[in-house]
């Protein structure tokens, strides 16, 4: 058995006997791999599986291949149309060098609480399809760098419902370029006659996994957007964030900023209403 195998068809997954680590774009995993890493692990390069590089527009859903890169998300107009928050997260995600390699599937499997694509997928009600099953994204993450994926289970597609919803993403980091996101907020809703419906809010990098801000969602549901409501929503989001203290940023600060970002998104939307 080769320690490094490359498969070019999804069907070939079945042929793999040993437990493997999957390699897609490699932007998250290679920095962790030191020289001679093949001594301890088996790797399976899936970057050549063509069928996982496609995005299909179905009747009710968007079916996104796990190997779709962040550059693809920016370039293919279908994302801006149906998954604006995801498109916005790709824009700020990193340098072109990284965006050209990093894949959505990889970003999800890596399960970093600061993974840029994850809060958008939460608010877009994404489902994660693997070679074995399909799961709601809400149930996919178990902790930092931990998912429900079993041995040799591979994310194959991301399914996003084609809803008539608005969605947004914003993040704050220490520096504009290449910042590992400090705090990020994604948000989706329908706006009907100035009233918010079907609100979803997700927060990145303020807890062990990306988390839904359910109290904020409940608070905003059915509300008329106004300055007062926005301010209150900001306060609620701050209270829902569960950041850890590290040297990159202080917990109190992250909470506060989560609130500010949400306010900024809603203020932008309010301006547009007026």
């Amino acid at each position: 058995m080769e320690k490094f195998i490359k498969i070019s068809k999804l069907a070939d997954l079945k042929k793999i006997k040993n437990p493997v680590k999957f390699l897609a774009g490699g932007t998250d995993i290679y920095p962790l791999l030191k020289d001679g890493f093949l001594e301890n692990e088996f790797f399976c390069d899936i970057s050549g599986i063509k069928e996982l590089k496609e995005t299909k527009i179905k009747k009710d859903v968007l079916e996104i291949g796990a190997l779709v890169t962040f550059s693809d998300v920016i370039e293919n107009p279908v994302f801006k149309k149906y998954a604006n928050a995801l498109y916005e997260s790709a824009l700020v995600m990193g340098s072109p060098q990284i965006r050209n390699r990093a894949t959505l599937g990889g970003n999800i499997a890596n399960a970093s609480p600061s993974g840029d694509s994850i809060p958008p997928l939460f608010v877009l009600k994404a489902k994660i399809k693997t070679n074995l099953r399909t799961v709601d994204i809400d149930r996919f993450f178990m902790g930092p760098k931990k998912t429900i994926l079993k041995k040799n289970e591979l994310i194959t597609r991301i399914i996003i419902p084609k809803e008539q919803k608005e969605s947004y993403f914003m993040k704050v980091g220490p520096r504009k370029a290449l910042a590992i996101s400090k705090v990020s907020v994604a948000m989706a809703f329908k706006m009907q006659k100035g009233v918010l419906k079907d609100v979803r809010v997700a927060l990145g990098a303020v807890g062990p996994t990306v988390l839904r801000a359910k109290k904020t969602e409940d608070f905003l549901e059915g509300k008329h957007l106004s300055d007062r409501i926005i301010k209150k929503a900001g306060e609620i989001v701050s209270s829902e964030a569960m950041p850890i203290d590290d040297f990159r940023s202080l917990a109190v600060y992250r909470r506060k900023v989560a609130g500010s970002i949400l306010e900024k998104i809603l203020e932008g939307r309010l301006k547009w209403v007026r």
Binding site: F4, L23, T27, L38, I98, P174, K176, L178, I180, L250
Partner: protein
């Protein structure tokens, strides 16, 4: 496995193991342009390649992933000697400095232009955001696009009466750098060189009781191991300063007692780096762990652990050190009486400031390659001070200096980190003791802890009368200089020496104490103590002006020195020696300030909800080299066709020092710069030069080139007079390389033919050495406008304008590039850069993920640099320095602007958003 791909249109087929990084494969195939600026994390972008037309990091690619693909690198852009138009545009834009990141930037530009013909500003920023550059400040990259559109981007030119000096000409080594020809130390390493891995101390303070290398030695391919047992016992300082150094001799190549996490414990030389690392892991070390000290407070306790004793801290200049109290040095002095000054005053302000450990992050880490040849030790290295390194290494090894040759290759950024003999001591020792070629290139993590800017704790007391006349100014600095003392005295001291002489105040004093701690080793960093001290002084004086309710500029104008002012304070400011009071030979400070204020007054503050704007400014000075201590030399020879070779010892770090010397010599000889080729910084073939530090390149090395050229001119005239049988006074040099009388002229070519022929006098050769008791002082004033987000604490620099008195900017675009780079670095220092340590002294953010540096998107929307042209009588073609002074203003200017916007005073770097927010909340 076998892979096949196209590399720059050539088909390549290789056998490789699948876990090899594409970056390493390309390097082996002779591709220089893929550089490693980070530890293969995809953070710096220097290893960028085009893979099937898309730009990617080659450090994040494995061999199988390029099978069947097409790769383009910078090596594939130029055709023979003809440069690609983008390469040409980079040279014209003057944006090539050290050149280490240039190939990656060129590829990023190409990739963008392949995608879109007329990119917007945002698209340009996005395309270049993934490539780090510490030299240029990114600003002139925008000019590349203008040039490619066919527009002329001409910098303003200076010195109307000169033909070459003050004009824009291409940097003398730019072609080599845009093509990624062999240039840096790593490009010259022989394939059989052994690789060094350094085993480092995991403890901040410990004694090595025993070290057992037997297991490691048994490994096949391990050729030499250096520990304290077989290492030379000489004590020295790594500080690359002129002898006798004002730094204690407290280091050994490998010490028996380790003093910080990362101190050298052993060095293994083996056939590959991986093997050396594995062998190092087999070395067994028995430590006696000692109690560490991490702060000045801990270090100065009466029962504090002693880090160095007299035996291990030899103080050649006796500058008040007391190692038994962990004090490296202590100096104090001043003029007049602070007490008297305070008594006379109507208002007094006293405030304390602090600045953290900061790292230079040159994109090329410390690298050296050494071997024995004909019984001599040869060292190729990336260093600012090749001649000091030769002296230090020969002293360590007990060799005469003529048995050691140090060749400075192109330096991929230095900024002071490479002023010291930081790796050559180790690499030279191993090459000498083993007799084998050895190569050491630091990882980014190692680079992060090899040198840093020391943590300074500065208290400034300033008093003034109602009208703003300053009556007392005192600076008290405590420096945490870490485990060893290179530059321990001079960095904090220089902070005082380059701030107090800005003012005419009769009562001024300084008090400087440096402490040993078990933190990482500090040293020189561009600005050398002034960026921190000037921050403290400017902020205090600004606060004084606020309390007196007079505009800051009025307070400054009332107290500033000008041309002709006698600087009494300099007498008290010798670095461990007696100083020299100096009459100020020229001063463009007031002009800089006036020019900038005029521009700043056109900026209007606009507050929009939680975004508030403010404006601020600051002034600064620096030196131009160290008069009375340093020297530079140059030699010039005439070749047989009448062109010249110029040999200088000066070590160009990418700043354009060689070009400056070349242009000054060309001006003096009345020829084009093309007629002079420069060879520099090789201790065998070029004359002595102190090296590049203390802002001395343009002034010292340039003046040496001037003197050599002047002597050549005299020689040409005298020789021609002899040939023509006339008096020398009748002979003149005419532009374009002609010499003779009004009636009869020789071309330089003819003169060379005659002198080098059988009946001539031999090749015309002239030399010049430069020393001085006084050096011209450069001045600057910087202005900025910031926006403070009062919700998130984020501060954005919107506008930035800098005005400099650098005498004559000898090459205006390179001079501007220096300033842009310095401003961007200082913006990083001001807002986010800070090395963080855990409670055991281990660095927590020794990588670019957690220690971000400014990228192109951090550029202010408006950033301009201007010069006031100032004549100084010290030398002709005078160039005052510019590299360091440009670091001194941004931080106080920004902090003042923040105060103007919000009313808060920020006194501790960095102004991270949460700090700003906390200050706003506790207002």
């Amino acid at each position: 496995m076998k892979i096949k791909f196209k590399l720059n249109q050539r088909t390549v087929e290789i056998e490789t193991s699948p876990d090899r990084k594409v970056l390493d494969i390309l390097k082996e195939l002779g591709i220089n342009s893929v550089r490693k600026g980070c530890d293969e994390e995809g953070k710096c972008g220097l290893c960028s390649i085009l893979l099937d037309g898309k730009i990617v990091n080659s450090c994040l690619l494995l061999a199988p992933q390029i099978d069947g693909c097409e790769i383009t690198t910078v090596e594939g852009l130029s055709k023979g000697n003809k440069l690609h138009k983008i390469q040409q545009a980079f040279i014209e834009a003057g944006v090539v400095q050290c050149g280490y990141c240039t190939p990656a930037q060129i590829l990023a530009v190409k990739n963008l232009l392949d995608r879109t013909k007329n990119p917007t500003k945002e698209e340009i920023q996005d395309a270049l955001r993934g490539v780090y550059c510490r030299c240029t400040g990114y600003k002139q990259l925008y000019n590349v696009f203008e040039i490619l559109k066919g527009r002329k981007v001409k910098e303003q030119e200076y010195a109307r009466h000169y033909k070459v000096v003050g004009k824009v000409t291409p940097k003398n080594d730019a072609i080599q750098l845009v093509r990624a020809d062999d240039a840096f130390t790593e490009d010259y390493v022989a394939p059989d060189a052994l690789h060094i891995y350094v085993l480092k101390s995991p403890y901040p303070h410990a004694e090595i009781l025993d070290i057992d290398t037997s297991e490691a030695e048994k490994m096949d391919g391990v050729e030499f191991i250096l520990t304290h047992k077989n290492s030379p016992k000489t004590f020295y300082t790594q500080a690359g300063q002129s002898y006798p150094e004002p730094s204690p001799y407290d280091q050994q190549v490998i010490p028996k007692k380790v003093r910080f996490v990362g101190d050298r414990v052993a060095a293994v030389a083996a056939r590959t780096y991986e093997l050396a690392k594995k062998a190092a892991e087999k070395i067994k070390v028995k430590y006696k762990i000692l109690k560490p000290v991490f702060t000045i407070e801990e270090a100065s306790q009466p029962d504090a652990p002693i880090i160095h004793d007299r035996d291990t801290s030899i103080d050649p200049l006796q500058v008040g050190g007391n190692p038994k109290r962990n004090i490296v040095c202590h100096v104090e002095g001043g003029i007049g009486s602070i007490e008297k000054g305070v008594k006379e005053a109507d208002m007094l302000v006293e405030e304390s400031y602090s600045t953290p450990f900061i790292q230079h992050t040159p994109m090329e880490p410390h690298t050296a390659y050494a071997y024995m040849k004909n019984g001599r030790l040869i060292i190729h290295t990336s260093v600012q001070t090749p001649f000091h390194v030769r002296r230090i290494v020969s002293t360590i090894l007990g060799l005469p200096e003529n048995k050691v040759r140090v060749i400075k290759e192109k330096v991929g950024g230095g900024f002071g980190a490479k002023q010291d003999c930081g790796v050559e001591d180790l690499v030279g020792t191993i090459a000498y003791l083993s007799g084998k070629p050895v190569y050491y290139r630091m990882t980014r993590r190692e680079e992060f802890i090899v040198r840093c800017r020391p943590g300074l704790y500065i208290t400034v007391k300033a008093a003034a009368k109602k009208d703003g006349k300053i009556t007392a100014l005192s600076i008290n600095t405590k420096a945490d200089i870490g485990a060893y003392g290179p530059h321990a005295l001079t960095v904090p001291m220089n902070g005082c020496s380059k701030t107090l002489p800005l003012f005419t105040c009769p009562n001024m004093s300084y008090n400087v104490t440096s402490y040993y701690t078990n933190n990482i080793v500090s040293g020189a960093y561009q600005g050398y103590g002034v960026p921190q001290t000037n921050f403290a002084v400017m902020m205090t004086l600004y606060q004084l002006s606020q309390k007196l309710k007079i505009p800051f500029e009025d307070l400054l104008f009332k107290n500033l020195v000008k041309t002709g002012t006698r600087l009494e304070i300099l007498k008290q400011l010798g670095e461990g020696r007696e100083g020299l009071a100096q009459k100020l030979s020229s001063c463009g400070l007031q002009e800089c300030l006036k020019k900038g204020l005029k521009v700043m007054r056109t900026w209007k503050n606009k507050n929009k909800g939680h975004i508030v704007q403010g404006k601020g400014f600051a002034i600064a000075m620096q030196g131009s080299g160290i008069p009375g201590l340093d020297s530079a030399s140059a030699t010039i020879t005439m070749l047989s066709d009448g062109t010249f070779m110029l040999y200088i010892g000066g070590a160009d770090l990418g700043t354009g020092e060689e070009t400056v010397a070349q242009k000054i010599a060309a001006e003096e000889l009345g020829i084009s710069p093309d007629a002079i080729a420069v060879t520099a910084a090789d201790t065998d073939t070029t004359p002595f030069d102190k090296g590049s530090y203390a802002s001395s390149g343009t002034f010292f090395t340039g003046s040496a080139a001037y003197k050599a050229a002047r002597n050549m001119k005299k020689l040409i005239i005298k020789t021609t007079a002899d040939i023509l049988k006339v008096k020398p006074s009748q002979v003149k040099i005419y532009p374009g390389g002609k010499v003779g009388t009004s009636k009869k002229r020789l071309t330089f070519k003819k003169l060379a033919f005659i002198t080098q022929g059988g009946s001539g006098v031999g090749q015309l050769t002239a030399s010049g050495g430069y020393v001085t008791e006084v050096s011209p002082i450069p001045y600057a004033a910087h202005f900025c406008q910031v926006s403070v987000n009062t919700r998130t604490g984020f501060v954005k620099v919107d506008k930035y304008y800098a005005v400099h008195d650098c005498g004559i900017p000898i090459n205006p675009d390179l001079a501007k590039g220096q300033v842009y780079g310095a401003i961007m670095k200082t913006i990083g220092h001001t807002f986010y850069e800070k090395l963080e340590f855990d409670k055991n002294g281990r660095c927590l953010n020794d990588n670019f993920t957690n220690y971000p540096i400014p990228g192109i998107r951090d550029l202010p929307e408006f950033m301009e640099v201007d010069f006031v042209e100032v004549k100084d009588p010290i030398t002709p073609y005078v160039g005052k320095s510019i590299g360091e002074i440009a670091c001194n203003c941004a931080s106080p200017a920004i902090a003042i602007a923040i105060h103007q916007a919000t009313g808060i005073y920020l006194r501790h770097w960095p102004f991270r958003p949460h700090v700003v927010l906390e200050a706003l909340n506790s207002k």
